[in-house]
C-alpha cells in the first residue's frame, strides 16, 4: 500500500531581486523585479508503507520544499499529493496526528524551557494518554540514552543533545510518516551514528514510513535501500541505491597489490590509473571488460592480491550533480 503519492508536483516561488548598493535599495522601493524560482518542477513518485527512502540532492535542489509540500506547510502550484490518503495542505487533525517533520536546523522545542515541558505540551496537543506517553518517552530516552537532560533548559543543551530531544519531541505521538530534513547536520561522527541507529530502530519498531534527506552519504548508505535524487527541482533518479552505481558509473575499480615493482607506464594502457603507490594500485576499467582485464593482469604481472570494487557512491553522486 502506498502511504505517499506525488504526481507532477510543482512549487514555484516569486523571489524579489534587489540591485546591490544604496541606489538599488532606493529603486527597490519604487519598483521591484520578481523572478520565478522553480523549486520543485514536475516531480512524481510514490512510497510504500514502512519504506525508508533517502532523498538526496545538492543545496537548493528542492528537497526541503518537497518535504514541506508533503507535510502540508506549502501550497503546491500544481500536481497531486496524497499522504495517508489525505491532501496535506488541508492540515486535518487526523493527518497531523500521524506525521512529523524534523528539520536539523529548526527547533520545535521551547527555547527557554526544559524539553520535558515541551513534551508535556505535545502530549496534550496530540492527545496522548498518560500510559502511552510514559512508555514512549522512556523508550525513546533509553534508545538515545538521554537520561536527565530532558530537565535542562533547551538553550543550555549542546547541538547533539538538542537534536536528540527534537527527535523525541517529534516522535512522542508515534507518527506513521516521518520526514527528516538533515537530522544529522552539524553533528560529530559518534552522534551521527547514534541518530542513524535510532532512525533505523524507529523505522523497524513502529513500521513507520520515513523520508530522509541528508548531505552525508553515510546516512543514506546505511539507512536507505531506495533513494530519490533530485536537482534543480527535477527528478534525476528513483530506485535502489545499488542501481545508481550501475547507471551512473560505467567503470569498476581494480584494486591491486603487486609482488614486484611495476613501472607505471606498463599500466597506462590497461585503464585509468586512479592511484599508484607501489605496491598498491587502483585502476578504473570499463564495467564489461573487468574480468577480461583482471585475467590479463594476473597473467602479465606478479600479483599478490586483486579485488574488483564498485566505485564510491559519493563519487558517483558528485558526478551525477556536476554532469549537467
Amino acid at each position: 500500500m502506498h502511504s505517499i503519492v506525488i504526481k507532477n508536483l510543482k512549487k514555484y516561488y516569486q523571489v524579489y531581486q534587489k540591485k546591490p548598493g544604496l541606489l538599488g535599495s532606493i529603486s527597490s522601493l519604487i519598483s521591484r523585479k520578481y523572478k520565478t524560482v522553480k523549486a520543485v518542477d514536475d516531480i512524481s513518485f510514490s512510497i510504500n508503507e514502512g519504506e525508508l527512502v533517502g532523498f538526496i540532492g545538492p543545496n537548493g535542489a528542492g528537497k526541503t520544499t518537497t518535504l514541506k509540500c508533503l507535510s502540508g506547510l506549502l501550497y503546491p502550484n500544481h500536481g497531486q499529493i496524497s499522504v495517508l490518503n489525505f491532501y496535506p495542505y488541508d492540515r486535518k487533525n487526523e493527518f497531523l496526528k500521524n506525521i512529523a517533520l524534523v528539520m536539523g536546523q529548526k527547533n520545535q522545542l521551547w527555547w527557554d524551557l526544559p524539553p520535558i515541558d515541551s513534551f508535556h505540551l505535545n502530549k496534550e496537543v496530540y492527545e496522548i494518554d498518560d500510559e502511552q506517553f510514559k512508555k514512549t518517552l522512556d523508550e525513546l530516552t533509553n534508545l538515545l540514552s538521554l537520561g536527565n537532560l530532558i530537565s535542562v533548559p533547551v538553550r543550555k543543551l549542546s547541538l547533539g543533545e538538542r537534536m536528540k530531544c527534537e527527535l523525541i519531541g517529534a516522535l512522542l505521538h508515534r507518527p506513521k510518516i516521518l520526514f527528516l530534513d538533515e537530522p544529522t547536520i552539524g553533528l560529530d561522527v559518534v552522534m551521527q551514528k547514534t541518530i542513524r541507529d535510532f532512525i533505523a530502530a524507529y523505522n523497524h519498531r513502529f513500521k513507520a514510513t520515513i523520508i530522509l534527506t541528508s548531505h552525508y552519504m553515510e546516512d543514506v548508505k546505511e539507512l536507505c535501500k531506495r533513494v530519490i535524487i533530485i536537482d534543480k527541482g527535477k527528478l534525476l533518479f528513483d530506485g535502489n541505491l545499488s542501481d545508481i552505481v550501475k547507471k551512473y558509473a560505467p567503470e569498476k575499480l581494480l584494486s591491486i597489490t603487486f609482488d614486484k615493482f611495476v613501472n607505471i607506464r606498463d599500466l597506462a594502457n590497461i585503464g585509468d590509473i586512479k592511484k599508484y603507490e607501489y605496491p598498491h594500485a587502483i585502476i578504473a576499467v570499463k564495467r564489461e571488460d573487468t574480468s577480461k582485464i583482471a585475467a590479463l593482469l594476473l597473467e602479465k604481472f606478479s600479483i599478490d592480491d586483486l579485488n574488483i570494487e564498485e566505485p564510491d557512491i559519493e563519487d558517483i553522486i558528485r558526478r551525477v550533480f556536476s554532469k549537467k
Partner: protein, 264 residues
C-alpha cells in the same frame, strides 16, 4: 481544551525564566503612569475644573485606565510577525493545534499577569497619593463597563493580529506596528479623556475603533455616558469587531498560501 491549559502553563514557566525582563516592563509602566498622573495633578493645582472634569474624575480616569490598558494592550500576538518571518510558524502548523487558540491561551496568561501587577501598582499609588477615587455607581454600569472592556480586548487582539499578518507580505512588520501603537496610545484615550478634543475631531474618532479600546469603557465606568451614547458605542465597536474578525480570517488564509516556511 487540555492542550490550551498546557500552553498557559508553559507560558508561565517561560515568564519565570525571564523575571527581570517582566519586572523592568512593569517599572516602565509605573513610571509612565506616575508621569501622566502628576502632570494632571499639576493642572489641578490652579483650577477646580478642567475641560469639564473635576480632579477626582480625571485621576480616577487615569488610574482605572492604567488597569484597563494593561488588560487590553498586553498581548503576545506581535510574536506572530517574527514567527512568520523566521519560519517558526511551521511548528504550529504541523501540529493538531489551533494557532489562534494558542495565541489566545498565551494572551490569557500575559493579561492576567499584567493586570495582577497593575492592580497592585495602582493600589500602591493610591496609598501614596491618596486621591479621591470615584467608584462605579451601580451594578448595571459595572456590567456594561466589563462588556465594553471585553470588546476592547477583542478589538485589540484582532488589530494586533492583522498587523502581524502583514509579515506574510513584507519583512517590515515592525514599523507599522510601532506607528500604530503610538497613534493608538493617543487616540484611544490613554493619555487624556478624548472628549476634551474639539467636537469635530471627537466625532470622527468615534467612528474609528480606537476610542473603544480605552476611552469608551472608562466613560461607562465614570457614568458619564447616556444610554443612547452607550448603545451607539456598543454597535460601532461590535461592527468593527466583526469586520476585523472577517479580515483576520481572510488575510490568514491568503497569507498561508504565500507562506514559504522559510528560514535557514
Amino acid at each position: 481544551m487540555q492542550k490550551y491549559i498546557q500552553v498557559v502553563k508553559n507560558t508561565f514557566a517561560e515568564y519565570t525564566a525571564y523575571r527581570l525582563n517582566f519586572l523592568l516592563w512593569r517599572v516602565r509602566m509605573v513610571v509612565r503612569l506616575i508621569v501622566i498622573y502628576t502632570l494632571w495633578q499639576a493642572f489641578f493645582s490652579s483650577q477646580k475644573v478642567i475641560f469639564g472634569y473635576s480632579e477626582s474624575q480625571i485621576l480616577t480616569y487615569i488610574l482605572i485606565s492604567e488597569i484597563v490598558a494593561n488588560f487590553v494592550y498586553s498581548t503576545r500576538t506581535q510574536d506572530l510577525g517574527s514567527e512568520i518571518q523566521q519560519g517558526n510558524l511551521t511548528n504550529y502548523l504541523l501540529r493538531p493545534l489551533n494557532y489562534f487558540g494558542f495565541l489566545l491561551s498565551r494572551d490569557i496568561l500575559d493579561k492576567s499577569l499584567n493586570v495582577f501587577f497593575s492592580i497592585i501598582e495602582v493600589i500602591l499609588l493610591f496609598i501614596f497619593f491618596k486621591p479621591q477615587i470615584i467608584l462605579v455607581q451601580n451594578f448595571g454600569h459595572l456590567l456594561l463597563f466589563m462588556t465594553a472592556v471585553f470588546i476592547g480586548v477583542s478589538l485589540y487582539f484582532c488589530i494586533s493580529l492583522t498587523l502581524s499578518l502583514f509579515s506574510f507580505w513584507t519583512q517590515e512588520s515592525w514599523a507599522p506596528r510601532f506607528l500604530f501603537f503610538i497613534i493608538s496610545d493617543f487616540l484611544s484615550g490613554g493619555l487624556f479623556p478624548l472628549d476634551i478634543l474639539p467636537k469635530a475631531i471627537f466625532n470622527i474618532l468615534n467612528v474609528l475603533p480606537f476610542p473603544y479600546l480605552l476611552y469608551f469603557p472608562l466613560k461607562i465606568y465614570l457614568g458619564q455616558l447616556t444610554s443612547q451614547n452607550i448603545i451607539q458605542g456598543m454597535i460601532i465597536s461590535l461592527l468593527w469587531l466583526f469586520m476585523l474578525i472577517f479580515i483576520v480570517k481572510k488575510v490568514w488564509a491568503k497569507g498561508l498560501r504565500l507562506y514559504t516556511a522559510e528560514g535557514r
